[in-house]
C-alpha cells in the first residue's frame, strides 16, 4: 500500500470540502473494494476521507411508499432490517446476497453504488425499482445515476446521502453467481410497482441496464412465459473467462423468467 493522508470529517460538508480540495483523494465508507485495490498497489490516492463518523448517513426509514436507506448503512443491516423485510423484502434479499458475510458487515449501500462494479447487485435493485439517489447536492434517478462501467453521475465532491426505494407490488432478484468471486455472472431484478414494470440486469454488460422489451411484455402479462422468447442480443454483453456473451444472453432470459416466477410466488 502506498502512503496517504487520512481524514475523518465530522460533517458531510467537511467531507465534501475535503473531497473537493484534495487532489486524488478517495472517499472510504466500508472499503471492501477500495482496500484490496490499495493493498495491491493498484490505486494511489493521496488521501483517504473516511465517512464513518457521519451518523447522519446511516439508517433506514419508511417514508410514505418509499424505503429510505442512508448511504452508510451496511449490507447486513439492510438484510436484517425489520422495516425492509416488512415493506420491501426483495431489497433485504439483494443485500443478503452481496459478497460474503464479513463483507456485508462492512460494505455500505453508498459505497457499492458509487463504485458501480459492473457485476454488483445493488445497482440492479436501484435500477430495477426506479430508486432515487439523494446526494448532498441533488436527487438523481437511478436511470440517470449509473452511466457506465464503474461510472456514475456523481461529481467531484458530491457525496451520496441516501437512496429512496419505492415499494413494489411484487419484485424479485435472481443472481447466478460467478463461482469464484460470488459477484453476479448475471443478475436479473424484476419489479412491478404501481403500473410500472422494470427489468434490470447486472453482471452481463459493462454497466447495469434495463431490458425494455421484457418490461413491455411483462406489463401486458406479468408471467414467465411472456418473456420466454425475448433475448438480449449477445453483441454488447461481457465475455470473460467465466462466461461468454452468448451464455450470458441465455442466462438473462432464464433468470428473468425465474425472477418473474419468484415475484409472483412472493418468495
Amino acid at each position: 500500500m502506498y502512503a496517504f493522508e487520512y481524514h475523518r470529517p465530522s460533517s458531510i460538508k467537511e467531507a465534501a470540502s475535503l473531497a473537493r480540495k484534495l487532489a486524488d483523494a478517495k472517499l472510504i465508507a466500508g472499503g471492501q473494494s477500495m482496500v484490496p485495490a490499495l493493498k495491491l498497489r493498484l490505486a494511489r490516492p493521496t488521501a483517504m476521507i473516511d465517512l464513518n463518523d457521519l451518523p447522519e448517513l446511516r439508517g433506514i426509514s419508511v417514508v410514505g411508499t418509499n424505503v429510505v436507506i442512508g448511504a452508510l448503512t451496511r449490507h447486513a443491516e439492510v438484510a436484517a432490517s425489520k422495516d425492509v423485510l416488512m415493506t420491501l423484502p426483495v431489497l433485504a434479499k439483494v443485500a443478503a446476497g452481496i459478497g460474503d458475510h464479513q463483507v456485508r458487515n462492512m460494505g455500505t449501500l453508498g459505497g457499492a453504488i458509487a463504485n458501480n462494479d459492473p457485476a454488483a447487485d445493488y445497482p440492479a435493485a436501484l435500477l430495477g425499482l426506479g430508486a432515487t439517489v439523494t446526494t448532498n447536492k441533488r436527487d438523481i434517478p437511478a436511470d440517470k445515476f449509473f452511466t457506465g462501467m464503474y461510472e456514475t453521475a456523481l461529481k467531484p465532491g458530491e457525496i451520496i446521502a441516501s437512496v429512496s426505494f419505492p415499494m413494489a407490488k411484487r419484485a424479485a432478484y435472481i443472481k447466478f453467481r460467478n463461482p469464484a468471486s460470488r459477484f453476479a455472472l448475471v443478475g436479473v431484478f424484476v419489479s412491478e410497482t404501481a403500473g410500472n414494470v422494470r427489468v434490470a440486469v447486472t453482471g452481463a454488460a459493462p454497466c447495469v441496464f434495463r431490458v425494455k422489451n421484457m418490461e413491455k411484455a411483462l406489463a401486458s402479462k406479468f408471467a414467465p412465459e411472456a418473456i420466454a422468447r425475448i433475448r438480449v442480443p449477445a453483441d454488447n454483453l461481457n465475455s470473460d473467462l467465466h462466461a461468454g456473451a452468448e451464455y450470458r444472453s441465455h442466462l438473462i432470459t432464464v433468470l428473468a423468467q425465474r425472477a418473474v416466477e419468484a415475484a409472483l410466488s412472493g418468495k
Binding site: E5, I28, G31, V35, P36, D100, Q102, V103, N105
Partner: protein, 157 residues
C-alpha cells in the same frame, strides 16, 4: 506521518500511533503481536483474518486500522475463558475435527460465532451459506459444519 488510534482489543484498551496505511490485521499481528489472526489472501476472500468489530465478523486484512478507531475488537485470542478453557464453539471444532492445518481456523471460529449469534439454530444449509466468507482447503467443510451445529447447541445450553 503517524495518526493516533485507540480501541479495545479483547477487553483491553490499546492506543498507538500508526501510519494511516496500516491494515487492522497488520496492527493486530505486528503491533499487538496477536498472531492468531492470519492473513491468507490479499483480495478479501479467504477470511482467515476474521475478527469481531463491535460484535460483527469482519475481515481484518480488508480494513484500515483507522476504520476501527474506538471500536471493540475481539480476536481469536479473546474467545477462550480467562483460565484457558475453550469456548463451546472452539471445543466443538476440536470434538468434530473441524480443523486440520489450523490456518483458517481462527477466522472460521470467529465467523461461526457471528453466524450463531444471528441464527441460534442453524441448519446445515444455513451454516454452509453463512460461512461463505471463509475458505478452508483441508477439511472439505464437512466437519466444520458438524462443529458449528454442535457449538451452536452448546452455546444455548
Amino acid at each position: 506521518m503517524g495518526i493516533p488510534v485507540s480501541m479495545t482489543v479483547n477487553g483491553k484498551a490499546v492506543a498507538a500511533e500508526i501510519e494511516p496505511r496500516t491494515l487492522l490485521a497488520q496492527f493486530l499481528r505486528e503491533h499487538l503481536r496477536l498472531t492468531g489472526t492470519h492473513v491468507g489472501c490479499d483480495t478479501g476472500q479467504c477470511g482467515a483474518c476474521t475478527i469481531h468489530l463491535n460484535g460483527r465478523a469482519v475481515k481484518a486484512c480488508n480494513l484500515l486500522t483507522a476504520q476501527a478507531q474506538g471500536a471493540q475488537i475481539v480476536t481469536i485470542e479473546g474467545v477462550a475463558a480467562a483460565n484457558g478453557e475453550l469456548h463451546p464453539m472452539q471445543a466443538a471444532f476440536r470434538q468434530h475435527h473441524g480443523l486440520q492445518c489450523g490456518f483458517c481456523t481462527p477466522g472460521m471460529v470467529m465467523a461461526a460465532l457471528d453466524l450463531v449469534k444471528r441464527q441460534p439454530n442453524p441448519t446445515e444449509d444455513a451454516i454452509r451459506a453463512g460461512l461463505d466468507g471463509n475458505l478452508c482447503r483441508c477439511t472439505g467443510y464437512h466437519n466444520i459444519v458438524k462443529a458449528v451445529q454442535t457449538g451452536a447447541a452448546a452455546m444455548k445450553g
